[in-house]
């Protein structure tokens, strides 16, 4: 079962640079491995991660087979106004997870 960890500061001053941290539990199976019987283990990776703030996209990244299990993605943004960050991970085999966190900007 997938699960997300999010770290967004609860409060910030307007104009502050803030760090956002995310971790999604995921096997990130490359598709290059074989079973002992010789069958390919099908690729099962997260292919895309997106962060929206108050509805507008502020960060996006594509993920590839070389990225290790349980991708830990952190990035910086500028605190402009109070609101809600929405995170979305999508990937192979219909994988789709979301999470959200709010910030108060003073």
């Amino acid at each position: 079962m997938a699960s997300a960890l999010i770290n967004v500061p609860a409060k910030a001053k307007r104009g502050d640079i803030i760090e956002i941290k995310t971790l999604m539990s995921h096997i990130m199976e490359t598709g290059y491995r074989h079973t002992t019987a010789g069958e390919v283990v099908p690729r099962d990776i997260i292919t895309s991660f997106t962060c929206r703030f108050n509805g507008s996209e502020i960060f996006r990244t594509d993920l590839f087979p070389a990225i290790s299990a349980n991708p830990f993605i952190t990035f910086f943004t500028t605190a402009t106004e109070s609101g809600k960050f929405e995170f979305e991970w999508t990937g192979d085999q219909g994988f789709s997870e979301t999470a959200s966190a709010s910030i108060t900007v003073e």
Binding site: S3, L5, I6, N7, K21, L23, S25, A69, N70, F72, T74
Partner: protein, 426 residues
Amino acid sequence: MGTSHRVSRREFVGASAATVTALAFPLPAFAQAAPRVVVIGGGFGGASCARALKQIDPKLQVTLVEPNKTFTACPFSNIVIAGLRSIEAQQFGYDKIAAGGVTVVAQAATAVNAAARTVGLADGTSLSYDRLVLSPGIDLRFDALQGYDEAAAAKMPHAWKAGEQTLLLRKQLEAMDDGGLVVIAAPANPFRCPPGPYERACLIAHYLKTKKPRSKLLILDAKDTFSKQRLFQNAWKELYPGMVEWISLSQGGKVNAVDPATNTLITDFGNHTAQVANVIPPQRAGRIATVAGATDNTGWCAIDPVTFESKSAPNIHVIGDACLAGAMPKSAFTANAQAKVCAAAIATLISGGTPATPKLINTCYSLAAPDYGISVAGVYQPKNGLLADVEGAGGVSPADVPREFRAREADYAQSWFATITAEVFG
């Protein structure tokens, strides 16, 4: 796997370099005096090696350099923390080793001149050697976790070197109120005693269950898997239900920083404030290994798995926790096994022979409760320049067995401790 036997480019270059080194520094086979071997570090590795050298070849002049007059053993020190064993039961002296013909020098080694083959001591004197053995154990990395320096360790003990720190952690547990939170921060691999943090969790939980049953224990881990994991996790459920919680790396368990003022451990995803915080930081080879030029950029010592000779410092051998031994875990048993192999290799090299390819064994017992033992055993041999698992050898305790089986393994653990300490120090 046909490819696994291929010599990689790195191995080939490394092997060629070693050959050149051997030619550049021929052995002093013509030397008149008895060959001199200096061993730095009087723990399980160094003390075993000094003794083994003298036993293999009584003509060798063997000097053991160790500043402490008393050695305090780490194996079983978790039982001391749980209040069920005295620290004195962990302590051993060097008298018997000296009586066997080893010169014991109670000084710290502060310098190594690999070209002149001398060791400088804290009192300003120096020792000459034909072969040097480093068994310096570990140094705790006080630069690895933000806020965790030596001063912080007096508030948030690591207890990863037995002695005062062991007793400090025990005192903190004794002083804690019932209902308190104990947090253990476990490091990423490699580190001394891979099952140690989890045995400690068990034995602290045993103390809490007995004396402070409303308390909780949390393990914050920089790893997703650990030694004897299933056995430990089963023991937590069976013996300490609802008391022990483990947060793995992928659940945000990696501690990045601590705040000793508030006893807080800080991860990427949250803060945990503990009544008792046991912070086991990342580690590296003991400092003298770096002074001697034997460490690489990992902080540990790359070695030839046949002789334990350093890959970067000729005529210097590194054994025990300080060396990079491939699949072999950093344990007292390992250090003792490596010490004997290294001693035999040195005796052979000094007499101009070629050391035989060794096989080494490690066994680690852990106590999940005083009468509940579990174990892991492995057999190792050199392969592609490292010590690799011999497939099909060794294994761990079975999962579903009656409590009598666990009680028997706890007895074996006691016997093992008595046997190894008698062999090394007795």
